[in-house]
Symmetry: C2
Subunit: 719 residues, 2 copies
């Protein structure tokens, strides 16, 4: 529900002192749609049941309406977010609820407040579940689920992040007391950017280098209590917030210094190993099947893969919010005379900005990206969920055939989840920011709902794997797949497009899809997919050859890799774009409602064609003529999508309280909302601003100001 | 000067509890430079005298060091910014100082605080000077310069912005009282986004539609007093701040509603017209020379052109700040083992992130853009300054030959200032944000100095002409130049590249520069410039032909224009890139120091080559082979620029107090600064966060928390 407008503002279809005159615009837009909005929502959220479930999941937050949140201090943000999060989750938890599939993503994407409890729930609890021994899970999980302890995922250090093997925190075993002694021995090794440790966490899952009797055993996780029953830091523990950020201010991401802090031997997370009282390090082996062992090892990456896939989904969700706000507002906002003539009155009619082609192109391009991102996010979340179940199954027994398939598919899913997270977070940010710019000046306002959206989101581009680092991981996998193809090894999933490399005399150009000669043919989904597949193939061949050349020149692998890294990253992006297009087409092919299919296919084509015009890696693949055809195709698509634009964002099914936007309200009463929010802004609470007496009044010419209307006397006397 | 570090932190070359161990890194980097930093600064700022002058201009702010500013409330920001601005400017003003050329840009770019006084000084005073009659200037200018009145530039309305002819505020003349009655008659016509009106301004220069005896005379400017001697709004005036924003929070951009507010007849800004007591509208004509009249008319655009060119310069300046922070920090920050091996210790040496090719590419690409933007900004500011002088000269007399040249050149300068502002602000933002991402997680911190830089800057992409609207203005000029060329009319400035269009049988491909076959040849500046010139020509021809085709199909011009707008915008961007490259080469050719020339030329090439690889509009122009050569060229350039990277940002000559950055400090003691800033952060001032007792404590298991080290007992009892 949007916030209610006060009595003195009365939205109507006509402009007046109390009305912006925009009340009829969005209803008129909605009447133009060629499809049923509920059916489109179903296509987006896994069917009608999915939509119902999604609404149910979001229901407990329905009363949390905070138009004033953009004025909150950091402390107020934190307080509200903790209170709301606990209120929302307690009921679910008491009913034994465990979130599944998309549901965590839905919650995060719809959260009106992020805050300290999200990493507690997402990262800390996942760590307990994924790394704890059964006894540890029994002791810690129920308390964590019921907010009796609050945990922090404590990995990154002040001067060490992406290279987790290089973390410097140590946990040295003291056999005498059967304790681990944890230390962050240097300034740079203090824990930093640790989610909710600044003010809130009572415990931390601390990643530290295990050292026993002087020998290094690598990185392990330890449960460390950091605050006591009065919430004061324990001896040897120093904690604090790292300071204000660009956005996402409700979280107390903090630092943690440890000076010889002792924890019991039982506080080493012990699912996969434990340390005997005398210091003997024992690795647990459950299954004798080496494949199961391999899967179990890979499953240790699952927490991270889940987090990454979740972040790709959230990226799509946040982008949907931005699309909703920008498209609704662009239909409401009118600017520029529709029929400019010399000498006309200034009251002449103006155009809705959505009808300016550059604006329309930007809006619909991002809309297509949002739909496509949702499809890929769904695919990835399902795939990882299956993997996760399989991994848990193998803890107890042997492998069936389906699980075996999953073992084989895992490297590809792992590689693509990395690149997908990196790419989706990066372009979701870019798209959100461009959509914000599409809202003109008003998009700069916090209460626009889109003003801070990108800023609050953008940490996700760097956290849990920087986007470039992750794309290079995908790149590494692609380079390996190229070698596999050349050596005739089996190719999994999308890397099947490298099949032609089996022939040593293969020339990429021989696989180029025949160039179509009409706009219609360019918009054939099968052609577009083939074209993207070919670009992936051609790029991987080109980059791989360059990498080989560097190695053949005598460079060590790491050096050669680094020298080609810009191109490898570009190749990974190209592959991920192909991956997304492919998943999007899968979704469309499964859809049964013809009206929905028609519109989805237009979005699919727009996603493809805009990349042809603006994307990288097309040199030598595309002729100038083909680009011209693509440009004409885009022109046509912008016309076709136009009547459905507002309905397409309605289908994202995002309530007004989540949008929390003066510009994106479902009713389109934008100007009333802007004015109302401004009047209530905190800077307007005092009649005269703080500091006026000191910094401004002494300079002012008070006598001149007293003249008011009489200023003309002075002017006239000077005439 | 950087803020002093406290006693318990002792930067050194070794890591320890009190040191990040990075003290020797930047000095070592600086020793690698192949050029003299002062000479490079001189190349950037108009010679050694320019550098001296720039330092002199910035001197009064030298004591304004605010490491704590990232914790300020909006009211504190406003208060500090007003106080500092007045302190800095009062001395200058008392000495009769008028800022020239780059100087306003330098001040803005170096301002540690933006705030309400900048638009007062920049926009309001410019309006008084540019639109006031001599008597009005005499009455208002000295008071404004001495901060005795504070003015707001009051143009934009809640639902009207870019289309200024469509503004709805009215000023109706009442001959009986000899007053204008000003009203914002509807909700949508209230003034909005008006710089400093929210809390600070005493006066506003209000743009309103002049109506006399029922007849519309178009948009005029009126001086309206809005607050009295006690800073309270005058009767009929409602003012307030529009609310918190994405950034730039120190300014009280506000709204203004006027309900029948009366101002004397003499308050119509009367440089070019006035209204007689009986309501007769009198336009002033000074010169009988129609060219002088034309120039005077065009000069009315000068305020806006100056503002735009200033904003392009500021964009380059802000980008320089981002480059300085990101490049210094990337040299300091180490991540990833330099020689990864199985079983090595976690304490193994790591690589500086500047040595990862993707990172290096991003850093140096933006550095090249910053240098190039500075060159274009300088060119444009000088050109407009000359125009402005000429315009003032013609107020008093006739035209000499040089002024005549300027009259001819004005349309091109006007068109390019629009596109340059649009393009530079847009890409400066993109580059700043990418540089922010280059700083990883720490770049998200406000105290990084780069965290909020882009957010504080980005309103400039939309304000004073949205970037897309401005690029389309450039596009309109280019389409007209194409027609001129086809009709054999004279071509001015860069549009000389359209000369070949005079021949009706002209085919663009005939002008394509011969494709080089070596990396060296691709990096020849003359070749690069010719290639960019050719892309401009080919694009204008292609887009122009499409526009003609639409018109020939029977579309009205506005419709045809809109249908081609995406391509026209792209053509304008392509032209502006050519324009920037050309100006950059001019600067390099004028430079006499060989060492500087060598490095500047590398940046020039990188600017060109990265556009070849990533830019638009190359289809049909570039072969795959040429793109490969460009990629190899980039690889080489990244190596060559590397040793000079830190010195190149030192040459921007930006003091630590302006950077105000934990990451970009000149001494490179990053980790000490981060930790110190965190400890002083406001959230850490209270021992327990606000709301703990209410929202968290009731849920916690206090008995469990009391166990501390004894948790193992419970764990063991469950074993």
């Amino acid at each position: 529900m949007a916030s209610e407008l006060p009595e003195d503002l009365k939205p109507s279809n006509e402009e007046s002192w109390s009305s912006g005159g925009t009340a009829d615009i969005l209803p008129r837009e909605r009447a133009l749609a060629s499809f049923d909005v509920d059916k489109m929502s179903a296509a987006l959220y896994g069917g009608a049941d999915g939509v119902k479930r999604r609404r149910f999941i979001l229901m407990p937050a329905a009363s949390m309406v905070y138009p004033e949140k953009y004025e909150w201090t950091r402390e107020e943000m934190m307080m509200h977010s903790i209170e709301d999060f606990i209120a929302i989750h307690k009921d679910f938890v008491e009913e034994g609820y465990r979130p599944e599939r998309d549901e965590v993503g839905w919650m995060s994407e719809m959260a009106t407040q992020t805050g300290p409890m999200m990493p507690h729930m997402g990262l800390f609890i996942s760590t307990v579940m994924g790394q704890g021994s059964p006894q540890q899970v029994m002791a810690w999980l129920p308390r964590a689920l019921n907010f009796q302890i609050i945990g922090c995922y404590s990995q990154t250090e002040l001067s060490h992040g992406s290279n987790i093997r290089g973390l410097r925190t140590t946990a040295t075993y003291d056999a005498e007391t059967e304790e681990f002694v944890l230390s962050t021995p240097t300034l740079g090794s203090m824990k930093w950017w640790n989610s909710d440790i600044g003010c809130v966490a009572t415990h931390a899952a601390v990643y530290a280098q295990l050292v026993i009797h002087g020998k290094e055993y690598g990185l392990h996780v330890f449960m460390v209590q950091v605050r006591d029953e009065n919430h004061m830091p324990l001896p040897g523990v120093e904690v604090g917030d790292v300071g204000p950020k660009l956005g996402d201010q409700a979280i107390d991401t903090g630092y943690l210094r440890l000076k010889d802090v002792r924890v019991p031997r039982e506080h080493l997370f012990a699912k996969r190993q434990h340390v005997e009282p005398d210091g003997t390090y024992v690795r647990h082996v459950k299954s004798k099947d080496p494949k199961a062992e391999q899967l179990a090892k890979r499953a240790s990456y699952l927490t991270m893969m889940q987090a990454r896939s979740g972040m790709a989904s959230i990226a799509g969700g946040k982008l949907s919010i931005a699309c909703t706000i920008a498209i609704r507002y662009s239909a409401v906002r009118h600017q520029g005379f529709s029929d400019a003539q010399e000498g006309q009155t200034f009251k002449a009619a103006e155009n809705p900005v959505i009808d300016y082609q550059v604006q329309r192109y930007r809006l619909f391009k991002h809309l297509a990206i949002a739909y496509c991102m949702r499809a890929s996010g769904n695919w990835m979340t399902s795939a990882i969920s299956e993997l996760s179940q399989a991994a848990n199954a193998t803890d107890d027994g042997d492998l069936d055939a389906k699980t075996q398939d999953l073992v084989n598919a895992m490297p590809e899913i792992h590689a693509c989840s990395a690149g997908l997270k990196g790419y989706c977070c990066k372009i979701a940010f870019d798209s959100m920011e461009d959509l914000r710019k599409c809202c003109g000046g008003h998009g700069y306002l916090a209460n626009s709902g889109i003003g801070l959206l990108a800023a609050d989101f953008v940490w996700q581009v760097s956290a849990e794997g920087d986007w470039v680092v992750l794309l290079l991981q995908t790149g590494r996998y692609l380079m390996k797949a190229r070698k596999d193809a050349m050596q005739g090894k089996p190719l999994v999933g999308l890397t099947a497009c490298l099949e032609p490399l089996r022939r040593p005399d293969f020339v990429p150009a021989s696989r180029r899809p025949r160039e179509p000669s009409s706009v219609q043919a360019v918009m054939d989904p099968a052609y577009l997919l083939a074209l993207f597949e070919f670009r992936t193939l051609a790029t991987i061949v080109k980059v791989g050859d360059r990498l080989d050349a560097c190695i053949n020149k005598g460079l060590a692998f790491d050096k050669a890799w680094n020298q080609c890294a810009v191109s490898i990253k570009a190749a990974a992006e190209i592959h991920i774009q192909y991956f997304m297009l492919r998943n999007f087409l899968d979704v469309i092919r499964r859809e049964t409602d013809e009206n929905c299919v028609e519109v989805l296919q237009q979005l699919f084509c727009l996603f493809g064609l805009q990349n042809i015009v603006e994307g990288q890696g097309w040199a030598g693949i595309l002729s100038a003529d083909l680009v011209s055809l693509a440009e004409s195709g885009i022109e046509q698509l912008l016309e076709s999508i136009r009547p459905n634009a507002v309905a397409l964002v309605d289908a994202f099914d995002i309530p007004d309280r989540v949008l929390n936007s003066t510009l994106g309200r479902k009713d389109g009463n934008v100007y009333e909302a802007l004015y109302d929010a401004a009047r209530n802004s905190s800077l307007n609470k005092k009649p005269v601003f703080e500091g006026y007496e000191r910094v401004l009044r002494p300079h002012l010419d008070l006598d001149f100001l007293k003249l008011r209307g009489g200023v003309c006397d002075e002017l006239n006397s000077k005439l």
